[in-house]
Every structure is written in C-alpha cells, then in structure tokens.
Symmetry: C2
Subunit: 197 residues, 2 copies
Amino acid sequence: MTAGGDIEALIQMMARLPGFGPRSARRAVLQLVRKRELLLMPLADLMQQVAVTVRECPRCGNICSGPLCDICLDPKRATGELCVVEDVADLWAMERGGAFKGRYHVLGGTLSALDNVGPEELRIPMLITRVEEEEIREVILALNANVEGQTTAHYIADQLEGQVRLTSLAQGVPVGGELDYLDDGTISAALRARREV
Amino acid sequence: MTAGGDIEALIQMMARLPGFGPRSARRAVLQLVRKRELLLMPLADLMQQVAVTVRECPRCGNICSGPLCDICLDPKRATGELCVVEDVADLWAMERGGAFKGRYHVLGGTLSALDNVGPEELRIPMLITRVEEEEIREVILALNANVEGQTTAHYIADQLEGQVRLTSLAQGVPVGGELDYLDDGTISAALRARREV
Ligand SMILES: [Zn+2]
Ligand SMILES: [Zn+2]
C-alpha cells in the first residue's frame, strides 16, 4: 500500500465501476485529491444526497428522487404511447434520441428460464395494468435485438394482443454505420427490410 | 433532463473524471444506483472521509492522511537514496515496480518559463534542504524523458552537483516493448546505450 488506507480503499472501490480498472481508478482518485474542493467534496456530497433520495419510479421503473419520475409527472407525455425497455440505460438512450414523446415502462431485464426470471420479476403484470388504466393506444416494444429481448417481446405481445396497437423499433443499418462493423443478423435484417430509393 | 436534478448533476460531475466521458459516466451512475447499499453508500462515505483527511505529505509531497506519509514514516526506507519524481502518479508507478527501497521527493510538475513555473513552485528548495539534512547519498532523477522533464533534471543536477551522487533511470526499450510502437527517440537512446550480449 503506497497511498494509505482510505485512499487505497477509494481506489479499489472506484475500480469496481464499469469502464474503470485499477489504473484508471488510480488516475481518477489522484485527480479527485488534486481537486479536493472543486471535485472531491462536491462529488462526495452529491453521492450522499443521491444515496439518500434515489428510488425507482413506482409507476415506470425509471430512477428518480421524488414520488414519481419527471416523465411520469409531465402531463405532456400522456400521449397514449408507452415504450417498453429493458432497463434505465435504454430509457436514457431513447431520451437522447429525442424522438419519442410518450412515457416508458422499464422491465428491469428480460425473461430467462435459466436465471429464474419470470414475468413477475419483470414488472410485466404492472405493464398490463398500466395499459388498461392509462388509456394506452400503442405499446412500442423497444427491447434489444437478441434472443432474450425478442423472447420477452413475444411474451408481452401475446399478453396484450387485441387490447392495443403493438409495434417494435425498425431493424436496419445504424445511421453512419459501416457494414464492416455490423453483425450478420443486422445486415440480413436490413436487407429483408430494404426499400426502393 | 431525463434522470432528475441530482442524478443528472452526478453524471456530469463523474464525466469530468479522467477516463470518463458522458456515456461511461451514465453507465457508472446507473451501476451506483443499482448497487446503492453495496457501492454508492460506501463510496460516498469513503469520498467524504478522504476529502476531510487527505493532505500532501509536508516532507515528500506524496498524498497521505496522517502528519507524514507511510514512506516517510517507515524507518526502513531511510536508505540514503532519494528518488525525485514529477508527481504522485509517478511515485505510485515506481512503488508498483517494487525495486526502489528508498524515499521520494515529489516536485509537483516541471520547470516551465511559459507557465511561470520556477524552482520555488516545484519544491526544489525543499529538495536541497532534504539532501543536506537527511544524510542523502544518492539522488535518482526519475523525471519523464521529455524536454520539460530533462530541463528540470538538468537544473536540479546543477544545484546538487558535488554534494551527492546523481543518477537517472536508464533509457531503453521497455520490457516486452515492441519496437514498432516506440517513438524514434526511445529507439535511438536504446541504440546508444547498447550492450554486448
Ligand atoms: Zn416514471
Ligand atoms: Zn512523505
């Protein structure tokens, strides 16, 4: 230990964050220590505060610090469209896109017989209830384009069939995507969905 | 803002850490929120504690939480060798190497006329005093092998000449280093310092 107990412990805990390893955690901690007043103290305060106030929005599963999240509280977002995503990171990604004006439902994962994840673990019963109670016209299944995501999408579609319009995101080549870097499934899907130009 | 005030503020502050950008900061904050008890709360507590206790070792410039750092406190490290480094990251790198058994002197940067960094800003007067007072036999100049580092090394060598043995780290090809990836200066230096095999 070259850096003393607390600092070494801080480095080890930072190294557990995604995107960090021991080397980058050391660099980050040095930066924090150098900018004690400007960075370390405000960051420590913010973390304390978030640790106390953060919770899951009881309606949609987004994270928030009030009784409901900003999106559920915003009456302008009661468009009758509900976008179903696997986790909060996907919700944030959709929001960055800026194209979706409705509300979300965060499942918290995908169905998995192997991991004992059934519909009850995924807020799927709550989704059914919301569709009935919130005058939802369309459910957009924005799940990942892998086996787990698509299995979960099919299960939800079966549950909601006939009650609501069900859609999913279009598959294809990402904007600016180079074919070289795409997996074969994406290329095949884009080919099947090809259009006249 | 999709994530509420505090959480958004936390993401923005995390994004200022070296190695992090907005995307990785979002992922890290989500992970923190998901592991509130296991990660967010202990990390917030550790940061608070480090923010209160961290200081610069008044003797060598290492960071520590006591009156002197672990290395200055350890009597076994009074070997008469003093290793001069630019910053604490370099001290940690030397310690990971594990080969150096003496003590350190952290300059806190390099001399720079452009940025108005003179000897007084770099703990150089304190280095001269330590060499006189701590029975130092050898000063190892472990400064970076760039113009600033070498200018600073020459200045220090001038100040200490005749008082103490002065050495610097050997230059050459890093262990496991591929020549392809080295800059020309390193290759030239390694060639000039070549040995019989
Ligand atoms: Zn919500
Ligand atoms: Zn020290």
